[in-house]
Symmetry: C2
């Protein structure tokens, strides 16, 4: 077992997956306990989905106190990212990007979000793991459910906070807008990195930001009917 899941965490909000929350020293047996928690997490997330898996039950499966799970991993979202060996916590990355906003004042939020996502995907270690996640999600019903619930909570939930609210009576509200953004971003990832469709796959990040950013802006806040 190597890699991302065992690295010490960077600071909170950095978007880096895994690592103990506020750990002050390494004890003998930590590594075995962490692995037991991660193994129990993988099984529970796969069998019960992201929503259905609880830290309490994962702790019970691993034979540890729930407080220890929180101590090692912080939130359920971070535990999921560590269990899936994601090198970043997607929702935290997104939340940090939304909070920071475009560093270039000439760039719109949509352009900035597309740039942030593409820059993450351009890193091989990130791309390979997400491509693996997409592959497994497309082949198993259980993995599909798990990914849908995770994307709904971590991505759509956070995006909808910056989307124009609807009138509250129909599906045309902020969640709908956020799920449209997800459709374009997922499509970009699948056609560029999984399918390798040219000439889009060879286009620069700047070109794609200019082309796709305004789509994201319109889905978030523009006229949709």
């Amino acid at each position: 077992m190597s890699g991302a899941g065992n690295r010490p965490a960077a600071g909170p909000g950095s978007g880096t997956a895994s690592g103990p929350a506020g750990r002050t020293g390494r004890r003998a047996g930590d590594s075995g306990t962490r692995e037991a928690i991660l193994a129990a997490s993988r099984k529970r997330f796969a069998e019960h989905g992201y929503d259905g898996a609880t830290i309490r039950r994962i702790a019970a499966d691993a034979g540890v106190d729930p407080a220890l799970v929180h101590h090692f991993f912080g939130t359920k979202e971070r535990l999921f990212a560590a269990a899936m060996r994601l090198p970043v916590v997607p929702g935290e990355l997104l939340a940090a990007a939304i909070a920071a906003g475009p560093s270039d004042p000439a760039e719109s939020l949509g352009e900035f979000l597309v740039r942030t996502v593409l820059q993450a995907w351009e890193m091989h270690e990130i791309r390979d793991i997400f491509v693996g996640l997409i592959r497994s999600a497309s082949t198993s019903e259980q993995a599909t459910t798990m990914l849908r619930e995770f994307v709904t909570e971590a991505i759509v939930g956070r995006l909808s906070a910056v989307a124009r609210p609807g009138d509250g009576t129909g599906p045309a509200g902020a969640q709908y807008r956020a799920s449209l953004v997800a459709s374009q971003v997922v499509g970009l990832a699948v056609t560029r990195y999984v399918l390798g469709l040219e000439p889009m796959a060879a286009a620069s990040v700047d070109m794609l930001v200019a082309a796709v950013g305004p789509t994201v802006d319109r889905y978030l806040t523009g006229e949709l009917s």
Copy 2:
């Protein structure tokens, strides 16, 4: 072996997969010969991709004359659709839609294309087979190559005919525009039908046409930088 691959063809340009081109009567042994050709096609397409598989080699593998392959299946595109058991020939459906144009003069080409694609996907028999194709393409390199080459020729090629041409020196031309359309349409299909991401998955075709149609219009002919 059942279903789509054995149905008689509708007229040319109808977008219906398979069936002999201009067959006038059924001979003894036709069915076995057809199956031999389809089996040889599946193997060649999988091993050599869509571009690398030739009708001449498929015919040789099946032990028949290439003219017989053309007689039974018409084009390579139709042979591929029949071999993959697609209930429609995607590129022919697209070409027919582009040629016909929106029946409602108030509808843009982008809106009409999104409506055409969604209406096809709403049919269970079509959706199930395409979801299967996407699943297999995401799990095997060979299947990925085959699907990429097919989408490039059948979909991107035809879409680029209605896209605004570039200056011919960079990737920003008609093919690039068409591949951006593919990114949004593939993303719509994956998030709505594979992932089932709400509220988008529950939205009506009309809602999605209104939301996504203008994106397709802009990718085809609008400003992208």
